[in-house]
Amino acid sequence: MNWLLWRQHRSQVFVTVVATVLFAVAVLLTGVHMAHIYKSSLAACTANGTCNLVGNLFSGYGAIIDLVHLSIALPVVLGTFVGATLVAREREHATNVLVWTQTVTRRRWLYSKIAAVLAGTVIASAVVSALVTWWSNTPNALDGNRFEGAQFDTQNVLPIALAIFAVALGIAAGCILRRTLPALATTVGAYVGVRLLVSVYLRPHYLKPITRSFPLNGDVSVPSGSWTLKERLVDAAGKATNGRIPIPASCGPIPDKGGAEKCLGRLGFHQVVTYQPPSHYWPFQWIESGLFVGLAAVLITVAVVYTLRRDA
């Protein structure tokens, strides 16, 4: 069985290793350089007392930044090319019949294939995630928070869980649809759909967010790295406004914007901010990773039951 696994997947292993090495070289070279720029700029501006680094610190690094952000697509690439083809291609060419009539059981064949592919997926996505996480140290320092989009999905443990999920999705689609192309399309569609649903509708609610009030004319100061979910302008009764408040006559003549805010503040209007603090980052990573690994387990079970119980 090991011979068959290697014979069938050696080209995928080769492509993955080469692509990962090239990616690693690019990430390591630029990462070291960007860290250097960041540190020297920070030292310079601290000396001047005028630190505002967000500007164009990494202009000229657009290509590598895009490349690193593209690692968000790694799970779906693995899910289609490795997961969806795993069983669908055999069924499409009926080679499953050839293998299932050798002296290796269907069960063992399927378990070995799934185990090998998932092991490869974990290794590849862990290496890429480690590289991206290391490289992102400096850009993260400039960014607001790590809960959204490209950062949350490509750093630390979540990318590994997402890759496992995508490959399991591909395997299940291939086992059920039995044709490569429909399995590929289903994998992409379902992955993107689930991904969006989870990040938009579930992620903000893993843990109870913090809600704080701020005066109208003051700064909204949540801890650095927080994920702001909602900012509302509410009246004295705590009722949300639509942000356009008619100036009451009692305020008298209003000289400017600041004056209006002062008057509204006296009348009880204030800002309410709901956010996830940076300390929730790791719990969120583990919760979402657990969710996707759980979904993957369900999909693998479906694929196995479907393939072993049904006719060849």
Partner: protein, 296 residues
Amino acid sequence: MRTLAVETSDLGKRYGKVWALQNCSIEVPTGRVCGLVGANGAGKTTLLRMLAGLNRPTTGRALIAGREPADDPEFLREIGYLAQEVPLYRRWNAADHLALGAHMNPSWDAELTVDRLRSLGIPLDRPVESLSGGMRAQVALALALGKRPRLLLLDEPVAALDPLARHEFLASLAAAVADGGVTVLMSSHLLPDLERVCDHLVLIADARPVICGDIEHLLDTHKLLTAPTRDTTAIEREHHVITKTRTPREVSLTVELTGPVIDPAWRIDDLRLEEIVLAYLGQHAASARAVMEGVR
């Protein structure tokens, strides 16, 4: 007691609402080369796939050398299966396929398979997709033979081949199974393909087996009886009349004899195998035409 290589009882398979095979009870003794004949869609592939453990029966059961098909190495080692579409890994060469056989079968006969393909002039180092249909069928047959199964199940192995390749394939198959107690169950929708190499016949029409037996025995017991116009009730009571044709001058019967014909008025003639098959398929006109296509 004779051991049976294949024994099925009331085997049936339904796909959705359609029965692909029904009431199939057949016996094939060990060591036979058994032809499985029927029109396309008659249920031959379904039967073979159930015997190979690929599909599960809806009703009844099958026994291969006394063992029910299962996802189990003890069963899998007994059977060699060649599917109709001759599935092979297209980009692999023949040597890769033999390596697959060697790695996935404990009883693999490496020498036999390599010698076999070499002697047939099949290049071991070219991708199988660049080989002819006949060569691919030989690679697949070598893979099925190499695990040294006790039962070889071949689904339309010659359907895709030209007449010369057909002849060569069947000759090489006959040679391969001549020594050693392997039983062969081989399907075809064309009777003439199988007549040359088979000593046993299973005929399937409309998802049911209509004949199952030794070919010699079929020829011995099936006769054409002819007589000037005559009452046939006595014959019909004694024997199994399959077809009856009346002309103004004479009546002729295709009969499966259960004993000697006592009435001397009947002339008894031998029947050829295809005539027997045709008689049985009388009520399945379309099947009959399909199966007889190519009979001289």
